[in-house]
Symmetry: C2
Subunit: 437 residues, 2 copies
């Protein structure tokens, strides 16, 4: 893969703010000294380990009541070929938010906003003080905790800014699907921000700073909060589980795959469906998918497994093997019954049955309390990345729409599609080639 | 302190379910083998370290893409003198939920429910399969991640179950305060459950299992979700920050203090205000306190610090010293101005100014999106523990009510008070001395 951003798991002193240091007195300052015992654990698998496990640390018995920073030291860089928040393993806390430009704000205000946002994101991700807004203090003491901030543009952005001729063909509206019960107030938007970190206060702080940086240029349209496993809660490094208890993400393309970039990123110079300003960018499909857990939990284990086509315990196909074994779509049991049922989710969504359509799913679970009938308002904040939705989400979802056994148990409640430009170089900002092109 | 529960930070294999083991095949089973590199880090400060830092682990380079379970191995035991979830450092994820008995359900149904809940809680906290309900699978692969489950009874419980003569005097309704804007639908309740863990899926799973275990005996009344720092995100072990960016909890009593038990737990045999069935129990005051962050963030750092009476950077009193230095309530600057202002939150809430009133605050931050005006719907799920609210929360809050500079920036939106019995012995259940007394 061509991702050139550095991922460090080295010890970093948690942020301190100049003005606080200037406060004088005997502050309980956080120094490298107390972090000396931290052992960087990056290696061949450094990317995966860095973000999913943080820097593993050993206390070495010197100060048994002071846990050494480990999760906190995970750090990704904002500047690079691609934006952060796409290839890194999903963090424990995520916020998705859409903003609309206010009436009267156009290309110039949008450019200034993206410049402010990019500067703030770069500082936050490095664990440094943010210029230009009063610091909240919320993330003080903590390291950046693998924070990533990602920015995107919705289709409506291009009309608002007089840039309709630069709108990518690939950003055409998603088709309607029969299982959609979409809430327009929680869908779409001019601008999109994805914030994710392994610490909840760090993630909230970043969201809050970015909201405050909008100033009078844009207003929040919708915001959703999600979560994944905490680093270190499991020793299975790649496997995520969703709130149905299913292993989720097995068939994701992997950064080390030869065709990963082709599936996920717009090529250098753009392509037929993406203008040049989108080079090294990607498209994010965002769906709020509520799970009907009361219905789901009434199914027996065997019923659940036949809906999915995989074993619940470990994600292995019902046709045998382990999680990584390809589905055997033809294999039958002694009675001639397909082991992976005809309408099993894993079969219907398999690239082999969708013309090779591939996307990188990088979701968060969500839980927003309970509905009046007592059912959990919970499910998946589905975020999928691809070089072109017509070769990723759209054909897969069309196929699922025609006969996926899982569709009985989920409702798509919100939907959005965003063009996510390539990463900004040092000194630049996300979207600059579009906004100053 | 007399807490007799064990806290382990030793390596524990993440849970596996019998029925899944029986599924056969080449499961990616989680074994002690892969956890052998985990180093238990318990020591003199084992309690604090165990729950705030998990078991710190070193990969030792044997399998660099497989982070060894660390956070996941944190484990508290359900059975003991006191219930769990009171003295342990606050976990990264918390759920508070109240349930009401359904019409027709009385003492017998309540006893059966508490028996089911206690059995489920004990299994979940040990990372073992739960008997009696279909497992969700959500927490599979993960260790118990310092899960605690705590049960309490609201004042209305005693009428519903014909046990009005057993209602503690200490459970009298909290007085009204001038800053209250309480929502009755999110206040009070017959039964209370506090679930907390360092992993979000483990916490959700436990809440979901307990909800399902209610069967037809009780219905959810309200539920709130909160968070704290992820273990390892900071190397400051004791200090929490809230969403105002303030160091919060400095003056909490500590388990090693001589009078900790007297402040927090009902003594053996009960006392004048608590019947014998409450021995070793405590009272939980729960308040949903929204922070008016848009107003707060408009204040300068100096203004914020004078509202609180402490430095924002490190929590040190404005009268000098470090976070642990007692407030000097008389000290003035060169112009004769009190360094800790007259209405500063730290002054008004100090035990010295509240007749020694003391409570153990163990809150979670919350963030439930944004209000229509764009302000964060965020703040503190305040949970305070004391042997008698009349010697803890009530006098402190009365004093704050009369002149706390912070009150301009917060709204109390929900309130509840619960009697939390002592811990259950092995084979028993929480509340058994009340329900079978």
């Amino acid at each position: 893969m061509s991702d050139e951003k550095a991922t460090t798991t080295e010890a970093e002193p948690p942020r301190t703010r100049d003005r606080e240091e200037a406060g004088g007195g005997t502050t309980l300052s956080l120094s490298r000294r107390r972090l000396l015992g931290t052992v960087g654990a990056a290696g061949a698998g450094g990317l995966a380990l860095g973000a999913s496990g943080g820097a593993l640390a050993l206390s070495q018995g010197r100060d048994p009541v002071t846990p050494l920073a480990s999760v906190g030291t995970g750090r990704h860089t904002f500047h690079g070929t691609h934006q952060p928040g796409i290839v890194e393993p999903g963090q424990a806390h995520g916020h998705l938010a859409a903003f609309d430009l206010v009436p009267g704000a156009g290309r110039r205000e949008a450019a200034a906003l993206l410049r402010r946002w990019s500067a703030a994101a770069a500082a936050l991700m490095a664990g440094e003080p943010v210029e230009g807004v009063a610091a909240t203090g919320i993330a003080d003491d903590a390291g950046p905790s693998s924070l990533t901030v990602t920015f995107g543009f919705g289709a409506s952005f291009f009309d608002r800014t007089g840039l309709a001729d630069q709108r990518p063909a690939a950003l055409e509206p998603l088709p309607e699907f029969s299982a959609d019960e979409l809430d327009g107030r929680r869908s779409n938007g001019d601008l999109w921000v994805q914030v994710a970190a392994d610490d909840g206060l760090v993630a909230f702080d970043a969201l809050r700073v970015l909201q405050r940086e909008t100033g009078r240029a844009a207003r929040l349209r919708w915001q959703m909060t999600g979560f994944n496993r905490t680093p270190g809660a499991t020793d299975r490094p790649r496997t995520a589980r969703n709130l149905m208890g299913q292993v989720d993400g097995t068939n994701n393309p992997r950064p080390e795959d030869d065709d990963f970039d082709r599936h996920v990123f717009v090529p250098r110079g753009g392509d037929r469906r993406s203008p040049a300003w989108m080079e090294h960018g990607s498209y994010a499909v965002v769906r709020r998918i509520r799970m009907l857990l009361d219905e789901w939990d009434k199914q027996s284990l065997e019923q659940q497994e036949r809906v999915i086509g995989r074993r619940k315990s470990d994600g292995a196909p019902l046709s045998g093997g382990d999680e990584r074994t390809p589905l055997d779509l033809e294999k039958t049991d002694a009675r001639g019954r397909l082991l992976v049922p005809f309408n099993a989710h894993a079969r219907v969504s398999a690239p082999e049955t969708s013309g090779g359509a591939t996307m990188l799913r990088r979701p968060f679970s969500y839980h927003d309390g309970f509905l009046p009938d007592g059912a959990p308002d919970a499910g998946l904040l589905f975020v999928a990345w691809q070089a072109d939705p017509q070769r990723g989400f759209v054909p897969v979802q069309r196929k699922l729409d025609r006969g996926d056994a899982l569709s009985r148990f989920v409702r798509h409640e919100a939907s959005a599609l965003f063009a996510v430009p390539g990463g900004a170089p040092e000194g630049g900002y996300v979207g600059q080639p579009l906004l100053e092109g």
